[in-house]
């Protein structure tokens, strides 16, 4: 059973850069069968061109890069992605027939998030791409949340610092050096809305004054 039956792999678009036509076709077919949207590049230069030109919903969110390709290899693309504005968070999986620990370390140091050795097993490919999909989803969700918070923060008016207030009439002096009623000042400098009421001590005082009024 594949994980696809448990969770539909929604809209993640994957770029596969692989110069070996057999492996490229195999990757394309396996990923498409699992429901992912796949675009392919036969070498590193074409992969980079696609990354630079595809925008919006056409842009890939995850790339599978063969290590050894003519023109521009997978390691070089990793490094370029990590130093190019807008691509810093791209999820990168390196594909290679190299399986040494040094190779693994070199690939990750170049900026890859993960690593698959060839020939790959379809279940391993699916699992690793699904991890990438989760990370991409989390990053997208966090970025949207941060954007919302930044927008909310820009709308918040916050009162802070020293505020001169008249000891007798209780007016406050605003930034324009104008003496203003406390009520007007608060409503103009914050998102607070005042509702009118009478506190218990004032209520007692007012009631006493009313009773003392000659009838």
């Amino acid at each position: 059973m594949t994980f696809a039956s448990l969770e539909r792999p929604s809209s993640v678009r994957i770029l596969v850069a692989e110069d070996d036509p057999i492996t490229q076709r195999l990757l394309q077919s396996t990923l498409a069968r699992l429901g992912w949207d796949v675009i392919t590049a036969p070498d590193g230069l074409e992969a980079w061109r696609l990354l630079e030109t595809l925008e919006g919903k056409d842009a890939p969110e995850l790339v599978l890069l063969d290590w050894m390709m003519p023109g521009l290899d997978g390691i070089e693309i990793c490094r370029k992605l990590r130093t190019t504005r807008g691509f810093e968070l791209m999820y990168i999986i390196l594909l290679t027939s190299r399986s040494g620990k040094e190779d693994l370390a070199m690939g990750l140091a170049a900026g890859a998030n993960d690593y698959i050795t060839k020939p790959f097993h379809p279940a391993e490919l699916e699992s690793r791409v699904r991890v990438g999909q989760r990370v991409v989803k989390l990053q997208t969700s966090l970025a949207a949340r941060i954007k919302e918070l930044e927008a909310a923060l820009s709308e918040v008016k916050q009162l802070q610092g020293l505020l001169p207030i008249c000891s007798y009439c209780k007016k406050v002096r605003n930034e324009a050096n104008y003496w203003q009623q406390v009520e007007a000042y608060i409503t103009s400098t914050s998102d607070v809305q005042l509702t009118h009421s009478v506190c218990p001590s004032c209520m007692e005082r007012v009631m006493r004054e009313i009773e003392e009024v000659p009838r």
């Binding site: 036509p21 076709r25 396996t30 060839k118 020939p119 097993h121």
Partner: protein, 123 residues
């Protein structure tokens, strides 16, 4: 797959069971991959022969690397191993036995091509 095809196949030349696992049981895809491999050989072999003759290590390394990847994806173990030998030789710059290794590779590719042709017919 016919019985004769299974019996005559050497597992080292082509592991059909492993290939079917790789393609997720999709026999059509397995046939398509075999066809692509045979088509690619037409251009790959002259390129490799030329690189061996010219003792061009970079070209040989690349050509052997791609052949190794293709053969490994098909679970063609014998060709994978010999292509890997050539790739390692080229990377290390040790070309003394490149001719003999390439000749061996050609023989193994002949067996693999015959096996893939049967596979295309039988799947």
């Amino acid at each position: 797959m016919t019985k004769s095809a299974s019996v005559s196949a050497s597992p080292e030349v082509l592991d059909e069971k492993a290939l079917l696992v790789t393609v997720g049981g999709d026999r059509g895809l397995a046939r398509e991959l075999a066809q692509i491999f045979l088509q690619e050989l037409d251009s790959r072999m002259p390129e490799m022969a030329s690189a061996v003759l010219a003792r061009d290590k970079t070209r040989l390394q690349f050509a052997a690397h791609v052949l190794r990847g293709s053969a490994a994806s098909l679970s063609a173990t014998r060709v994978t191993n010999t292509a890997a030998e050539l790739e390692t030789m080229a990377r290390a710059g040790e070309m003394a036995t490149a001719d003999a290794t390439f000749a061996r590779l050609k023989g193994e590719l002949g067996s693999l091509s015959a096996r893939l042709t049967m596979l295309i017919r039988d799947l």
